[in-house]
Amino acid sequence: MTRFELEETSNTPHIVFDSEANKFSIEGKSFPEDSKEFYRRVIDWMEQYKAEKPAAISLSFNLFYLSSSSIISVKQLLLKLVDLQNQGTKVSVTWKYDHDDDDIKKTGEDYQQLTKLNFVYKVNV
């Protein structure tokens, strides 16, 4: 699939979806003015990727901040990964957080509880 990248801005994260390089990552701050609009392209890409039936995907998150509306959008993105898993793709999510950031860690745990996806937690050094 075509490589997808969104540059980081003051209120949206850096997003890279590269199936050839096997790099899928979302990093930075997420408080877009319109979460639905911002994440639409991101979710659509993942929806289209389902058709390729990839063997495996590992999506890495390193978010400093998530507004309440983008929390819902990221959930919707993770549900696409659940679809992939249901199709037979081996899915894992790497959830990175700063050592003193309980909030972000907890958000990851909430997502894990909700989606039952395989979450690997990594503390940023």
Binding site: E33, K36, S69, I71, D101, D110
Partner: protein, 192 residues
Amino acid sequence: MDLKKSSSVEHGIFTEKVNTIRAAYKTEDKKIIVSHIGELDQRKINTLSSLVEAQLEHLKVSKTTTKKIFNVVIEVLQNIALHGENVGADEIPLNYLLVARNTSDFVVYAGNAVPNGIVKKLEERLKRIQSFSTFELKKQYMDVLTNGSLSEKGGAGLGFLTMALKAHEINFDFINLNDEYSLFSIQLKVLR
């Protein structure tokens, strides 16, 4: 009806509310550290949130507390940007944000005009939120996270819950502006 006069009546009520808040913060250990009145777009939200972060860093506030305050500020500002109404013939955006520091806590004051028709519902919702224990708030939060989706306006129903979870105390009030609108004010206290 003299429309020009009527919009200055609302503006007078609004200004009085903001001045009342400011009046409490005039000493060395009680100060307003960030203040904004009027139009709010995403660019403004970015600027204000950066300013809050910078001020808190300057005050050597812990990262955890800074994150909580930042969180609360973003939520109130995005709420205003999404739901705030322009009032009167001049279409004045009666919005305000004041972030205040006290010796042992920070208080985020925010306000925006809302249609009178939603005041009762909003009041009930916030009273319910005020009455929830942390456990109940978290449960509500997980409920909305699990079942929620984004509305047309982009709201998620998580905003107030998020604010209530980050803040140690939440208070609010409504002041009638005219036949159509009231000024909704919220105060969120975050302990240092």
